[in-house]
């Protein structure tokens, strides 16, 4: 291009000045907002990554809060159970003493009184409520005390004593989320924590020739077992044993009836779901009464009691002055203590797992924050340098523009 019009220089100078001012403005805005991404179009992929990272960071923060809450609940439960254990150990001491033949009936009765008091304390521990006013050992039924106390008379004593405890809660375990797709149980149902012996249920109905009528679903301890039409008793037993529930099923050789036995001490929770009547037909559950736990058939034999059952029988033996009974009671207390210590170990393990997860989150959160920062945060040093560069070039350009208004021929003509 050889010819230059007078306007061109002005237009060019204007164009470049505008461009530079626009760039300076952008830079200042970004510095003010501390972000590289003022418009999504500045770096769309980084912005997209950042949305995922930000959501992930939020989730991690929530998981940490969850863990803290669960740990708090757990500490509360643990303190109650530890207390419970201490009381049990005291009762065991008394039972060992009472088994000695040297104590008289009166001495044993005095011990019985103490055991009774300790029993009352055990019950109040089991029925305790947390800071929100909810009971902690009732499963889902947290407005209700887990153990209903039945009172009555005891041989050789005056007044109303605890004669039996019925569990009124359920086996619901509320799940808390501590990490993506990772859940932990938040509560402990009373009929699993405070149980001493494995439960055995012996049905009294002859199961040979029994066939399941239609596709049914039964629930044992909350675990679903599906049965198909035409299954005979052996198929049913096989399916129960293959399922993940902690129960062994077998056929009683004498009566040809179904026997269910737990593998760890807890109360069996059995129900037929919807139209199923399998457990009712097999004589395990009472017909028509489907809601556990007090739905075991009257004709079936149930063995295996809770810790309270152990303590009650021990106390009654002490009142009666029955040395053999007290001796047997020691065995019961040992089972009870073993059950409680197992629970405490499980709680300890859960707490460790929560701590490990919390530590991992503590480590991971700053790492993710760093990634996010790399995507969207402004490198302040770089930004300031660029701004300075723009300022200098701007000044230079303005100075040059001033010279552009150069003299024309007009200045030189008369």
């Amino acid at each position: 291009m050889n010819r230059v019009s007078s306007n061109m220089a002005h237009l060019d100078a204007q164009y470049h000045m505008m461009l530079r001012e626009w760039k300076m403005n952008q830079m200042q805005n970004k510095m003010g907002a501390q972000t590289k991404i003022k418009e999504l179009s500045d770096d769309p992929l980084a912005a997209a990554h950042s949305t995922r990272l930000k959501s992930y960071m939020y989730r991690m923060g929530q998981y940490k809060e969850n863990i803290e809450q669960i740990q708090g609940n757990l500490a509360f439960s643990e303190s109650r159970i530890t207390n419970f254990l201490e009381v049990l150990q005291r009762i065991r001491e008394l039972s060992v003493q009472g088994a000695h033949g040297i104590y008289t009936k009166q001495d044993m009765q005095a011990m019985a009184v103490e055991v009774n008091q300790l029993l009352e304390q055990l019950v109040s521990l089991a029925n305790s409520r947390n800071g929100l006013g909810n009971t902690i050992f009732s499963g889902y039924e947290s407005h209700m005390e887990p153990f209903l106390v039945m009172r009555g008379r005891v041989e050789n004593s005056e007044g109303d004593f605890i004669t039996a405890l019925h569990y009124r809660g359920d086996i619901g375990k509320n799940m808390g989320e501590i990490s993506e797709n990772t859940y932990v149980e938040m509560n402990l149902p009373g009929n699993q924590v405070f149980w001493a012996e494995n439960q055995h249920i012996y049905a009294n109905v002859d199961a040979t020739g029994y066939q399941v009528q239609e596709d049914s679903v039964i629930r044992i301890d909350g675990v679903v077992v599906k049965l198909n039409a035409g299954d005979n008793i052996h198929a049913v037993i096989h399916k129960i044993n293959e399922s993940p529930v902690g129960v062994r099923a077998r056929l009683d050789p004498v009566k040809d009836s179904l026997v269910l036995e737990t593998t760890t001490p807890h109360e069996l929770w059995l129900e037929d779901v919807d139209v199923s009547s399998v457990l009712q037909d097999l004589g395990i559950i009472q017909s028509g009464k489907n809601t556990p736990p007090h739905n075991i058939a009257g004709s079936a034999n149930v063995f295996g009691g809770s810790i309270f059952d152990m303590v009650i029988s021990l106390r009654d033996s002490l009142y009666k002055g029955d040395h053999e009974g007290v001796n047997a009671g020691i065995g019961g207390m040992d089972l009870s203590i073993e059950s409680i210590t197992t629970t405490l170990a499980e709680i300890g393990a859960l707490d460790t797992r929560l701590q490990v997860t919390a530590h991992r989150l503590d480590y991971e959160l700053p790492e993710v924050q760093k990634l996010d920062s790399q995507e969207v945060d402004l490198d302040l040093a770089q930004a300031i340098t660029e701004l300075k560069m723009l300022e200098y070039t701007h000044q230079a350009a303005l100075a040059t523009s001033a010279r552009i208004l150069r003299p024309t021929l007009l200045d030189f003509l008369r």
Binding site: S6, E39, A48, T51
Partner: protein, 626 residues
């Protein structure tokens, strides 16, 4: 023998011609800074010399020059460059509008900050988690309601902004059509004036400058090509094959509101009422933005909202509140029609003719890793026409589901919480089809029939088609579940069920067994709802909500970035062209002044010559023979 006054005549011609020259120079100097002005150059030519061969010529040796005169005043403008500029201006106008509106659209989402719909949704889902841990606490329930309201406000706000951008575009379209009409009218009027002037042999330079400016303005608005050379008397402007302006004839555009496009207008020719598609210029950009880009963004928001409502409600309905109430929707659902089978009268003739169903779920529980062992072809409704999806015996269920989602059908598939195959309608690409309605499902084999339990029969007889009343009768009566399509734009009407606001204890947190609720400490339903945040719930063709939000941001950001970069490039191209035009047609003051001096001298010389000749005449008149 020459005439007495021929010398004076020659001098006079010189003076007058040079005066014209000076006037032209003065005109150039005055207009140096005026936009669109091209410099004019006066051309002199020598007058016809005498004597031409003929019988009445004088016997004198000739030719004797007769001075000079103005030949013409030429406008210095390169018409080839003009053609280039007209073309590029169209591109520049197109990308300029896109850039401007994409910036606006990008800001609607407020990402990646803590104030976006996504972060409101995070808080919403976390409120459910908090509820699941303490379901007996009324405070947590209130928190769920508050966070729901905040999220709903965020969604409404997003929807309103997108809607108002679309309305803004509509106004812009109408305004631009008016501008185009005004310009074509003006250009035609200028054509007429120029034609008349040219007919008289003149060069109407300033009128032509003005016309060129109008043409450039028009080029920015719509894509045109100009033919300068075909007929020098008649300038023709073409657009899309039609003569927009031809000499003093011109055509006009009009707008036609279309119900299928939600009342937004199409641009039509005023005379033929035919729709015009533009391929460049601001108007094309506005229409593309309004009917493709912004419409798609609104559809995306609706898609997310619709799926969100559907997913939360499905889980919530199966849950039990603290007061053991169940089967309550969390979000109020507004169906398109209040008819259990979704029957609707589409053509307004008084009888039902279509079924508006959004979701169909099968009867059988499927295992995603199971091999299907059957062969067939699915025919599903696509954007235009139908799409086929093949399935083979060696495919797993998960593979067939993925294939459906990638097939381009306007139907999305997933296995829901119970493992049943769930097919959902998606927003429609073509305006004439409604959003979120399943239009066609057909299976030549048994996958949808016996395997998933959706249809009763295979082949065309058993196909589900929306263009019939009670289309749901082809679905398996004993188990396929279906839901009626929602009212348009769920993002606009989403709201929490008032029953829950009045009685927060009804918010479902517990699951149930055998028709009765679990105890109050059970928060499993609340936990399931909160997990929807990162589970594979299939929002259209994105797997999770995370993927949806990331995709939303990336998509608008990339388009915005493209628009911004191309706009910058176009600006640079235009600057180069305009610089070239300025170099050719721009006034250079020094040049003009030099020319002015030339004419001044010429003028002075001619005047001097007259004076000398006058002296000679004076000798003859006053002193010869006295």
């Amino acid at each position: 023998m020459l005439s007495t006054f021929s010398g004076i005549e020659i001098g006079k011609r010189g003076v007058i011609a040079h005066t014209h020259g000076l006037i032209t120079v003065g005109h150039n100097l005055n207009n140096a800074g005026v936009e669109g002005y091209s410099r004019q150059r006066i051309e002199f030519k020598a007058s016809d010399a005498i004597y031409l061969p003929g019988l009445n010529r004088e016997e004198t040796p000739g030719h004797i020059g007769q001075g000079m005169e103005v030949y013409r005043i030429e406008r210095i403008r390169d018409m080839l460059l003009e053609g280039e500029i007209v073309k590029e201006t169209g591109n520049q106008g197109y990308w300029e509008s896109l850039d401007k509106y994409f910036q606006m659209l990008g800001q609607v989402y407020n990402e990646p900050t803590e104030h976006s719909i996504r972060s409101l949704m995070d808080s919403f889902f976390f409120a459910w988690q908090e509820l699941s841990e303490n379901p007996t606490q009324m405070g947590k329930r209130e928190a769920v309601l508050k966070h729901s309201q905040a999220l709903i406000d965020g969604i409404h706000h997003g929807y309103q902004r997108l809607r108002s951008i679309r309305d803004m575009l509509e106004q812009d379209v109408a305004g631009t059509v008016d501008q185009v009409n005004t310009l074509t009218r003006n250009i035609a009027a200028l054509n007429e004036q120029i034609q008349k002037a040219k007919a008289l042999g003149d060069n109407p330079n300033d009128l032509m400058d003005k016309r060129d400016m109008r043409i450039e303005e028009l080029a920015k608005l719509i894509d045109i090509t100009v033919n300068y050379n075909q007929d020098p008397d008649e300038l023709i402007i073409y657009t899309n094959g039609r003569h927009l302006v031809q000499g003093k004839q011109y055509l006009q555009f009009d707008t036609l509101k279309t119900e299928a496009n939600e009342g937004y207008s199409l641009v039509i020719w005023k005379d033929t009422r035919e729709v015009e598609q533009f391929r460049g210029g601001k108007l094309a950009a506005l229409l593309a933005l309004r009917d493709v880009e912004v419409r798609a963004e609104i559809q995306k928001l609706d898609l997310m909202t619709m799926n969100f409502i559907d997913l939360v409600n499905a889980v919530h309905r199966n849950g039990y509140g603290l007061n053991e109430k169940t089967d309550i929707d969390f979000f109020k659902e507004y169906p398109y029609v209040l008819n259990a089978n979704g029957n609707y009268d589409r053509n307004g003739d008084g009888t039902f003719d279509s079924s508006y169903i959004f979701r169909i779920a099968g009867k059988h529980t499927l295992d995603p890793q199971a091999l299907i062992g059957i062969r067939g072809t699915l025919t599903l409704s696509g954007v235009t026409g139908n799409v086929t999806v093949e399935y083979y015996p060696t495919d797993t269920v998960a593979e067939v589901v993925a294939r459906i989602n990638l097939s381009g059908a306007e139907i999305s598939a997933r296995l829901d919480e119970e493992g049943k195959l769930s097919l959902k309608g998606m927003p429609a690409g073509d305006f004439n089809n409604p959003d979120f309605v399943i239009r066609h499902i057909e299976d030549s084999g048994e996958f949808l029939v016996g395997y998933a339990g959706i249809l009763n029969n295979s082949g065309t007889d058993g196909a589900y088609d929306w263009e019939q009343v009670d289309a749901a009768t082809v679905l398996r009566a004993d188990g396929a579940a279906f839901a009626v399509a929602p009212l348009a734009h769920p993002a606009g009407w989403i709201e929490v069920n008032q029953a829950l606001v009045n009685e927060p204890a009804s918010i479902a947190s517990a699951s149930g067994i055998n028709g009765r609720a679990e105890g109050p400490e059970d928060g499993s339903v609340a936990l399931t709802i909160s997990d929807l945040r990162y589970k594979q719930v299939m929002i259209g063709d994105t797997l999770t909500l995370d993927a949806y939000f990331a995709d939303l941001v990336a998509s608008i950001g990339l388009r915005g970035q493209e628009a911004s970069k191309v706009h910058e490039t176009e600006n640079l191209i235009m600057k180069n062209h305009k610089d070239l035009r300025e170099a050719i047609s721009g006034v250079n003051i020094d040049e003009e002044l030099a020319t002015m001096i030339k004419f001044q001298h010429g003028y002075a010389a001619a005047a001097r010559f007259i004076t000398e000749f006058d002296k000679m005449l004076e000798i003859i008149i006053n002193r010869m023979g006295v």
